[in-house]
């Protein structure tokens, strides 16, 4: 992870809503201007892993699988169809014929294999390599003894077979990740490390121009294999624009989408302005903000102390601090994630109950500890609210407000007793409950340097998690979700986290941008689904 707001996948609030129909009645044409504060780091699908380049890469490249626009429903993409063997270990994908890269060459099964080999080769330094761990031959790639995945076979030019070393219920999500995008070998060879500045894919748009630090221009791919897509002829990304300035420009009609969203300081003002309120679209996202409690640091190693802290935090007040841009959480999974337990009440705010638990733990007078926090607004203010809540039950928490990389380091090496996850918190890579476990609550992530900052490791739950992910039969989907629900509720009994809130997403767009609301809070494409939104002035 490299960016505070990293989003693999965020989910629309109404995940259960019927997928909007994206018939081809809208005319193609027009353009839009999207602004960002930071320059785009890279458009290489094997490297890009921040919320800004994630959806840009999606518009330049395609993978075997994708999601229905505006939803998190999986569908075949470059694959025309797929079959899964009865043991759940062999996936066979049949590719669409006649799909062309931006350089004019036809995409074939060889390209799919090459792309998977490339992303798992350590020389590529892909932050997404770990997702492909279930493919047969991954270990040999990781330790450098192989340069090609033995589990991936080209059957014929339009058929590719992938063998897994263990059943993996999330595998179709994995091949829908940007990291599995199909890239042409000749272009990667030509540009080498600069491929990220000269991307060549099969996507709806191609990169026409990139002036470093200023502007990127995406042009419609006239040969795109999906008829009627994309709607826009051109997207201009103007970078280096402060979010406050971007909002002013939107109000003057110079910008269509401020990519960084509405700045916190202007949020209430814009939301209450009758001119702009209708331009804002709200959606949920697969994100949870939490406080980690290091289960090896006394006295946090006592489960009663951790429960007391859970009861001491006034989450409603913290939601107020972020201007109501979140909903209170009581468990690790966000509400729109399959496996969420809607009836679970969690630890209710109860100062007296918390004091009683502390007394039971032998600490009636409280103790002193440290709370690490990422030093950008609103996180230090949230940390102060937590500090006050803790002092109400006698706990003195000293706030350590540091740069993001330093907080991550302190969390990884286990030296931080408590961390407020804000700005670094977990946003799911794909809409599956397993994605909230392994790296942040499982034993694998509890190792030195891992993202499990509580250092919580429950071998029994690890075994249950493996069992749940072995349920690959789609017919047993409910059974698998229940298994995951049980795992997360068991975690809450051990209270390694204080789940605080789930952030909501707010996208503001100009009046010229059209399309169903779901496209503007697309779970997979942040800030909007570039391929399907359209310009009203050409209709």
């Amino acid at each position: 992870m490299r960016n505070a707001l990293l989003a693999g996948v965020a989910a629309a609030a109404l995940l259960t809503a019927i997928a909007p129909s994206f018939a081809q009645e809208e005319k193609q044409g027009g353009s839009m201007i999207v602004t960002y504060k930071d320059d785009v780091s890279t458009l290489d699908p094997a490297i890009g892993y921040d919320w800004q380049n994630w959806s840009m890469i999606k518009s330049l490249f395609d993978g075997l699988m994708d999601y229905e626009p505006g939803t998190s429903t999986l569908k075949p993409d470059l694959a025309e169809s797929y079959t899964i063997s009865p043991d759940g270990l062999t996936y066979t994908f049949v590719l669409h014929k006649g799909v062309k890269f931006h350089n004019g060459r036809e995409m074939t099964a060889e390209d799919v294999k090459y792309s998977l080999d490339r992303v798992t080769n350590p020389v590529t330094q892909s932050p997404g390599a770990g997702f492909f761990g279930s493919i047969d031959g991954f270990a040999a790639m990781a330790d450098g003894t192989a340069t090609s995945l033995s589990g991936v076979t080209v059957v014929d030019p339009y058929t590719v077979q992938i063998k897994l070393s263990r059943p993996d219920a999330t595998f179709l999500h994995v091949v829908a990740l940007n990291f599995a995008s199909v890239v042409p070998k000749e272009a990667v060879d030509e540009f080498g490390a600069d491929f990220g500045k000269h991307p060549v894919g099969t996507g709806a748009f191609s990169l026409a121009e990139w002036t470093l630090g200023q502007k990127l221009v995406f042009k419609r791919n006239p040969d795109y294999w999906k008829p009627g897509v994309p709607k826009l002829d051109e997207i201009d990304f103007e970078v280096g624009q402060d979010p406050t300035v971007a909002l002013l420009r939107l109000q003057k009609g110079e910008v269509d989408i401020p990519g960084d969203g509405i700045p916190p300081a202007q949020f209430l003002q814009v939301k209450d302005d009758p001119t702009y309120a209708p331009l804002i679209i709200e959606g949920g996202q697969l994100q949870t903000g939490y406080i980690t409690l290091n289960v090896h640091t006394p006295p946090l190693d006592n489960v009663d102390v951790r429960k007391a802290i859970n009861m001491a935090i006034n989450k409603d007040r913290i939601v107020q601090i972020v201007n109501g841009r979140a909903i209170v959480a009581n468990q690790p999974l966000p509400p729109s994630m399959p496996g969420y337990a809607p009836d679970y009440k969690g630890y209710v705010y109860d100062v007296e109950g918390a004091k009683a638990l502390l007394a039971k733990a032998g600490l009636p007078d409280g103790f002193t500890t440290e709370l690490y926090v990422y030093n950008t607004d609103p996180n230090p203010r949230i940390a102060q609210a937590i500090q006050q809540d803790l002092s109400a039950i006698g706990i003195t928490a000293e706030i350590k407000s540091l740069a993001q990389a330093n907080v991550i380091e302190a969390g990884g090496n286990g030296s931080a007793p408590m961390i407020w996850s804000g700005g670094m918190g977990w946003i799911a890579d794909f809409p599956d409950p397993s994605n909230f476990y392994g790296p942040i609550l499982g034993c694998a992530g509890a190792a030195e340097g891992g993202w499990n900052w509580s250092k919580y490791c429950n071998e029994d739950l690890d075994a249950k998690a493996t069992a749940a992910d072995s349920i690959t039969d789609p017919a047993k989907k409910t059974e698998r979700e229940q298994a995951w629900r049980d795992i997360y509720l068991a975690i809450m009994d051990d209270a390694p986290w204080v789940p605080v809130f789930n952030e909501q997403r707010f996208t503001i767009r100009s009046e010229n941008m059209g399309g169903p609301d779901a496209l503007f809070v697309d779970p997979v494409h942040v800030p909007v689904n570039y391929d399907y939104v359209f310009a009203k002035n050409v209709q």
Partner: protein, 306 residues
Amino acid sequence: MTAYIARRFGQALLILVGISLVTFVLLYLVPADPARQIAGRSATAETVENIRNQLGLNLPFYEQYGRYVAALARGDLGRSYLQKTQVSELIASRLPASLLLMAGAIVCELLIGLTMGLVAALRRGTWVDSSLMVVSFVGVSAPQFVIGILLLYVFAVQLGWFPIGGYGTFRHLVLPALTLGILGSGWYARMMRSSMLDVLRQDYIRTAHAKGLKGWKVLFGHAVPNAILPIIAMIGIDIGMFMSGIVVVEAVFGWPGIGQLAWQAIQRIDIPIIMGVTLVSACAIVIGNLVADLVAPLIDPRIKLR
């Protein structure tokens, strides 16, 4: 003169080596692991270790620094850890914008500062003098992001005279250059005022008046040129001040210069970019000072280079 320049270049080289060493040590000591930033949150320990080896982050400090300096001597600033692009390419694409901004700022600060100083000196002791000095004091003390946002709001949003941020035309340059120049103009106003007061007391001014020259001829023919000379020599030193200012001003106005590049790299611990920008800035400051020292004797023959 040649010997002097050669010696100054030698000193400059030493300064740059010193700066590179200090920056490298600081980045080495930062408690954050660049390999982990690159590897991502789902990476195995093996992957992180592999990346660390590829980047040479496991080597002892002196060896890492030695490698960096050796590459530097070949003109290679390395590749960005996260963007994978050549650092030299990133800096080269952004340097012109920063230089343009600085040139604009120099023009702004001289125009505003010298005019204010001149008027204040001529109206010494009146309300004009004191209010100009208050204004210059505000200019010197106000944070640049406040001035920047204020100018942006009044002249771009409300009045619509200038574009709201961005880069490309002369109109884009005015507000950021003004923001960056206002700080310096405060200093120049004060220096110009005292320098003018000093000059106006000189015998040659009295002589000029005595021989019957018109007031404005005395002022612009004798007083101003003499008062301005010591100030012009200060411009080179401003470069250092601008280097810290552009980080803020470029962020406010969306100006695609090296200040923005540095700011983004620092947040992501992208060491090659941080090193590259630091060295380029240090070079600019060293050259600025050198030029200031070399120009001084040309302007005022009483100054001798040793």
